[in-house]
């Protein structure tokens, strides 16, 4: 496939004016190379309006310095480093949560209020702010809010329990969508490959099997590059 040609023909098609009026300039659609991934390295498919919105959010700061310090302590209690993998803050979870508070303003009050609750509780019990309490003291507090009563629907749970669940959700989602977290999880996709079925040992582990009759319908991956031809009844010949 020669994409350069198809883009050229588009412009020759008479759209010079159309493209000039278009937010997407011709040079933007010029392929920079055959390698899809590296060609698109600097972008992640944002429209100009979306980029502008992200820049706008990045230009403001929601969490103050104290809150960032508290958040760092908290997310690293939720997911500390182990021998192999870094902690939540190592994985960029702080930046992620800061961004989400602006991108989804409904998070702002529960998070800000949650930090206040943590400091209040810590001051009352130990006479220090949460971030300067000892890890043991911090855990004593978390132990009271980290195990929701599943019989109670979430909106009816105490505010501090809801706060902690939200922080754990954001921490885990931030972690497992980071480079570190994806490696820890073991996800190996997002890359060109050829799907040829569930490995035999996995089928066995889960007590299922492929039927011959079904497999007979499926693609023979050794012939995936052979052009499809059919007889007039729709039977695939190749």
């Amino acid at each position: 496939m020669d994409r350069r040609k198809s883009i050229k023909s588009l412009i020759l098609g008479g759209v010079a004016g159309g493209l000039a009026l278009n937010g997407c300039k011709p040079e933007n659609v010029e392929p920079t190379g055959e390698n899809i991934a590296s060609g698109a390295e600097a972008h992640f498919g944002r429209t100009p309006e979306e980029k502008e919105q992200i820049a706008k959010l990045n230009a403001t700061q929601f969490l103050n310095a104290h809150e960032v310090e508290t958040l760092t302590v908290l997310v690293d209690l939720i997911l500390p480093a182990n021998d192999t993998y870094g902690s939540a803050s190592d994985a960029g979870v702080i930046d992620f949560i800061e961004f989400m508070t602006k991108d989804y303003p409904k998070f702002q009050t529960p998070i800000r209020g949650g930090f206040m609750w943590l400091d209040h509780k810590s001051n009352k019990d130990f006479g220090v702010e949460f971030k300067t309490a000892t890890p043991e003291q911090q855990k004593l507090i978390l132990d009271t809010i980290a195990y929701p009563d599943v019989e109670v629907p979430e909106p009816k749970r105490p505010l501090e329990v809801q706060f902690f669940s939200l922080m754990r959700n954001l921490t885990l989602t931030g972690y497992y969508t980071s480079k570190i977290g994806i490696e820890d999880l073991g996800y190996v996709g997002n890359t060109p490959n050829v799907w040829d079925g569930v490995p035999e040992d996995v089928l066995k582990q889960h007590g299922v099997a492929y039927e011959d009759e079904w497999l007979a319908k499926c693609v023979d991956q050794s012939k995936r590059n052979t052009k499809a031809e059919w007889d007039e009844k729709g039977n695939l010949l190749t």
Binding site: M1, K5, I7, S9, G13, G14, A16, G17, G18, L21, N22, G23, C24, N28, V29, E30, I36, A40, G45, L57, N58, I78, L79, N82, F96, F99, D103, Y147, R168, N169, L172, Y175, S178, I182, D184, L185, G186, Y187, G189, N190, T191, P192, N193, V194, W195, V198, V202, Q205, H206, V208, Y210, W214, K217, C218, R224, N225, A228, W230, G234, L236
Partner: protein, 572 residues
Amino acid sequence: MQIIENSTIYDVIIVGSGAGGGMATKILAEAGLKVAVVEAGPYFDPAAPEQQTQFKWPYESPRRGANTVRPFGEFDSAYGGWDIEGEPYTTEEGTDFRWFRSRMLGGRTNHWGRISLRFGPNDFKRKDMDGLGDNWPIGYDDVKPYYDKVDKLIGVFGSNEGLPNDPDGFFLPPPKPRLHELFYIKGARKSNIPVYPSRMSMLTKRINDERGICFYCGQCSRACSVYADFSAGTCLIFPAQKNGGQIDLFVNAMVREVTTNEEGKATGVSYINKEDRKEYQLKGKVVVLAASACSSARILLNSKSKQHPNGLGNSSNIVGRYLHDSTGGSRSAFIPDLMNRKVYNEDGVGGMHVYTPWWLDNKNLNFARGYHVEVWGGMGMPSYGFGFNHNEFNKYFGINVGGYGNPLREEVKQYYGSVMGFGGRGESIPQKDNRCEIDPTKVDEFGIPVLKFNYKWTDDEINQVGHMHDTFEEIVHNVGGHLLGDKPTIEQKNGIYAPGEIIHEVGTTRMGDDSRTSVVNKFQQLHDVDNVFIVDAGPFVSQADKNPTWTILALSWRTSDYIIEQLKMQNI
């Protein structure tokens, strides 16, 4: 250089570049006609680095893929959604409709599920079967040759099963089922619910030298940079340009109305250029509307003139009426036997490898028509939301839910890939009063009067979705799973999705032989104006329990052939 107000007279002006407009562009341009394509959104090529979302990692986005901007998440390729700034719509009090729009070259074909189902013989003659709704003025035999051609041109995988109302085709071989799909097969069969390979338009095998072959990244909704799945831009419009088609593409051009002459015939379209916010006119011998069902209806209704005081093609007062969307119900479940998985790459194609077409007879059921079942699950790429309530399923084993610290790592892995979900997509009965019309009190930011929707589900649709839930529950029970969330009650209308949420809206300019009860004839030509055609899903008389795209493509091709013939005969 300005394109507008030029003296070019196009043979055909096509409004919209999705499935219907893309197909018309290809057929008409390759026949040698000079074609203008007018698209409300920007140029889009999934291979262009700046627009590409395929192969991006979640951490390349500051919101990790959250759907705060794009309704299906940051990496979905659709520009637009149910709400677009500056382009409002309204709904009649006490009714509901959600209008999804994609503004970009290729329209909604860039992100859809690519489930590509032919309508069957029964689907065109529903009134004969249950007395409800209306028959199409055409039958399966009229469309079959075009379905066959679409299969071969675009490529669709599936299997020939000899089913009476889910006809065979020219299929590429399907991919093998994934682990959760083997569980689905097992569970469904226990209740005598059949399962077949799904039918979707990704190339599991080469069909030509122009397009790549599927490399199983599972990201079709991000639009494929090697063009291995179907979208109208990459598979219809680009090839037509490459084959020498005379195509002028006008992007970011929002069509306001079809212009007409003293005789009431169409002379072209006027549009607002979104960049300079000025209005321009294009002249053409034929106008083909493919803006999507509701947008085409809106353009017609806004095209008022002395000759067409009620809007173009609307002497019947039917434009905008009989609007209907697929029914939708969904549920998910935790399957303990899918826990503790060995991790391997099971991205597969973007979407399901197996599905269940409608399998029952309505005689013993409390609703009309049927639905198919879609299934999802597996070890997908983490995105925003991954890890939420990470050990919620502990409750099924009497273990504390929640916690913190390094044990979380193991818990996350334990449950990764153990959830399976189902979507039911069914046929609704078209109702004359379910409609969109012009809201005379509001305009969009381009000064174009907006649509007001008026839509209510009937008991048929609500009961049908109740049946979907019964089916899902039975299947989950059969594989020893735990359903998540509560079964929606009848007071909650059985959890039926709001109209428009399934994004299969059709029927606003329906087809028929009688100009008093329909808008277009069986060649999708306006009864009132012979040089205006509609090739999106507006002309659908009924929807079937199938995704409409394959039928839009087949009918657009059929209509395009008819336009060529009529132009040759100098009839239009």
